[in-house]
């Protein structure tokens, strides 16, 4: 402790924790509620970079950790699905530098397409999972995760939720870690090359690591025990733990920090001290099922509380085993596309042409709402292209011809490129039309850069990927660029023409996001001045 006292969001606390713990590289892909971690890490002087998607971000992070550098990689919950291929085998490798994978879950879906519970990944991928209850623990567990990761040479998941990421609470930081020694590559082929001959012993090593971490968690893990009444005992994790302390201040409570692998004997001992044991956890019954599987008698929550966030009132209801219907809060005003947003003209055109629109993830998903009602599918990042192709393949010709895929610029780089490869490789008989809505930023998450903007996370210039060149070289029949600012009216005749052909087409519509445009002008001006002084 340094005596300093700060009021920080969980995201900012992770960034500060990473900086103080000596993290040398932070990677990730923007996604609410995780985005601010890398932005803050960069602002504080850390080295942070956006990757095209979460899988690449985790792979870069693995390389950095293999080289011995402390590393964090950040993403929202669904991002870990994209990175899962890397995750499931990375846990079998030995990392030299601590590697913390931040997964920011969104129970209640404030800004997400599902409310998956990423605690499942701990067990599924055999990665230790830390769950902070507030910003102080977000800070502390970033350090702890790095330390555990180095001690057992295993990637560690730091699982946050919206109310951890975006809640501000008081943090007392520690003295920064001073070790910044030189790195050099240490060859360890059996620990890093996962061919069956090496992966088989690696899997046994992994289980041994988890057994040792369990022993550590039982003896000295981050567990808080509040001794209260004998009548009621609560086992809780994450933000649900502070809701529970407030809902039942008289109860005994065991708050777990490292929730995979679990300290089951510690929980069993706690259970023996109370008459009734209730597990308070947000989302899926992950913890309560584990306790029951271990033969610990525990109550979970009624099924209705699996949905949405918990809060103090809902925890009170769970403890009272109240399954009466909950009153829905009055509906607020839904979000909508900004006035002047370039997506408006596109969705008006798609609506007027009665297109079947295969949509994607971004601000433009709001095209599904009135007055446009111009989106028919939305599943995951990049799905617009593949889903559109699937529709084209099987629908009767008159309907197939109306199918259009719509994808944003950042989403296109994230996972649209492989969809274009599919379109060129397996073209539907009626061809297909893909619209790339290029508003020059990752707008939805708060205007982050991506490989198509030509700017880095800190907005300084770098190489830019040209969507039109990529699509042309991949073999798309027709590639058009349309400046919406000057020729929005040109979209309709262009689409009518392309939809009538049996060819593959990509139309890139360009107009900067209205919220980002003033900043983009500043970045461009700064880059021009920089270039001038270098001449």
């Amino acid at each position: 402790m340094t005596g300093e006292r700060l009021l920080l969001s969980g995201d900012d606390a992770v960034a500060l924790g990473a900086l103080h713990a000596g993290v040398r590289l932070g990677t990730g892909y923007p996604g609410t509620p995780s985005t601010e971690i890398l932005e803050t890490f960069d602002r504080l002087g850390g080295r942070a970079q956006w990757s095209p998607n979460e899988k690449v971000a985790l792979e870069v992070a693995c390389g950095s950790a293999f080289a011995g550098a402390r590393t964090i990689v950040t993403m929202k919950h669904v991002g870990l699905n994209v990175a899962a291929d890397a995750l499931f085998t990375a846990t079998h490798t030995d990392v030299d530098g601590g590697l913390v994978i931040v997964s920011a879950d969104d129970p209640g879906m404030a800004s997400s397409q599902n409310e998956q519970d990423n605690r499942h990944y701990g067990r599924a991928a055999a990665a230790p999972v830390l769950e902070p209850i507030d910003s102080q623990q977000a800070y502390d567990f970033t350090w702890l995760g790095l330390e555990l990761s180095e001690r057992w040479k295993i990637p560690v998941i730091l699982r946050l939720t919206t109310r951890i990421c975006h809640a501000k609470t008081v943090v007392r930081p520690r003295r920064p870690h001073q070790d910044a020694g030189a790195l050099s590559f240490r060859r360890d082929i059996p620990a890093r090359v996962m061919i069956p001959a090496f992966a088989k012993p690696a899997h046994r090593r992994l289980r041994q690591k988890l057994a040792e971490i369990t022993t550590w968690n039982e003896a000295e893990g981050p567990i808080e025990e509040h001794q209260g009444s004998r009548e009621l005992g609560i086992v809780a994790t994450g933000v649900a733990a502070v809701h529970a302390r407030e809902a039942a201040p008289e109860a005994s409570q065991l708050t777990l920090g490292l929730t995979y692998p679990l300290p089951l004997e510690r929980i069993r001992a706690f259970a023996a001290t109370v008459d009734r044991l209730v597990v308070i956890e947000e989302g899926d019954p992950v913890l309560v099922d584990s306790l029951r599987a271990a033969g610990i008698t525990a109550e979970g929550k009624p099924e209705q509380y699996r949905f949405g966030e918990l809060n103090v009132a809902r925890v009170r209801r769970i403890l009272a085993n109240d399954t009466s219907p909950e009153t829905e809060p009055p509906a607020g005003k839904p979000p909508e596309l900004c006035p002047g947003c370039s997506h408006r003209a596109v969705f008006e055109t798609l609506r007027d042409l009665d297109c079947i629109v295969s949509g994607d993830i971004g601000c433009y998903t709001l095209g599904v709402l009135p007055p446009f009602s111009a989106m028919d599918t939305c599943v995951c990042m990049g799905a617009s292209v593949g889903v559109g192709l699937g529709l084209r393949h099987v629908l009767p010709e008159d309907e197939a011809r109306r199918v259009v895929s719509v994808i944003g610029d950042s989403t296109f780089v994230h996972s649209g490129l492989t969809g274009i490869a599919e379109m060129v490789y397996n073209p539907p008989a009626t061809g297909h039309v893909v619209l790339i809505l290029d508003n020059a930023t990752t707008a939805m998450t708060g205007q982050q850069e991506h490989p198509g903007t030509g700017r880095l996370l800190d907005h300084s210039p770098t190489n830019r990927i040209s969507f039109e060149s990529v699509c042309t070289s991949m073999g798309v029949d027709n590639v058009h660029v349309l400046d919406l600012h000057h020729d929005a009216a040109g979209l309709r005749p262009l689409l009518e023409d392309l939809l009538a052909r049996d060819e593959t087409s990509v139309v890139i519509t360009r107009q900067p996001c209205v919220l980002a445009a003033p900043k983009i002008r500043l970045y461009e001006k700064a880059a021009a001045e920089q270039a001038e002084t270098q001449d």
């Binding site: 507030d134 501000k168 609470t169 809060n311 809060p329 607020g332 005003k333 939805m444």
Partner: protein, 163 residues
């Protein structure tokens, strides 16, 4: 233990709801309290309903104000009053945008800080902490206009809320 004070600030995306709750939380933090604040954002900048919870006291547990337990509901947009009313406790204080007379603000964007001025008359946080929090959370060029807005809100509250 001193009771926790619960304040909910609500409005529409772009009105500065979150900025207002940042300033309030910072003022309470500077006054030495334990503070937690939370909200949902992400979609909010797309003009939808936004609300933010601020809690302070000797020790705060949950970062969310339980429904029906807000001591004060501060609303920046009249249409958002009914949507957020269930958060207010019986006898709780409602502060709406009408506290500020139309045209009294030099810049309508400082309505959020003006309403914090009104709120400040109902809370035990020294004015110095409020001003420091305003300075810490806004760009230097906005300090003067927001200090004026804050003072205007204090006057409005003293007049209309009778405090």
């Amino acid at each position: 233990m001193q009771q926790v004070k619960n304040i909910v600030i609500a409005g529409l995306g772009g009105q500065g709801v979150i900025k207002a709750s940042d300033i309030l939380a910072d003022a309470a933090f500077r006054a030495g309290f334990d503070v937690k604040k939370s909200e949902l954002h992400g979609m909010s900048q797309r003009g939808g309903s936004v609300s933010s919870d601020v809690r302070y006291g000797e020790a705060v547990l949950s970062p969310m104000v339980p429904p029906g337990e807000a001591d004060v509901l501060l609303v920046l947009e009249a249409t958002q009053v009914e949507v957020n009313r269930p958060t207010l406790r019986p006898g709780g204080l409602l502060i709406g945008p009408e506290v500020i007379e139309p045209g009294a603000l030099r810049n309508r964007k400082s309505l959020n800080v003006a309403l914090l001025g009104a709120l400040s008359t109902a809370l035990e946080i020294d004015q110095g902490h409020w001003i420091a929090a305003i300075h810490a959370n806004l760009a230097t060029k906005l300090h003067a206009i927001n200090e004026q807005a804050f003072a205007l809100g204090r006057e409005g509250a003293t007049r209309q809320l009778g405090q």
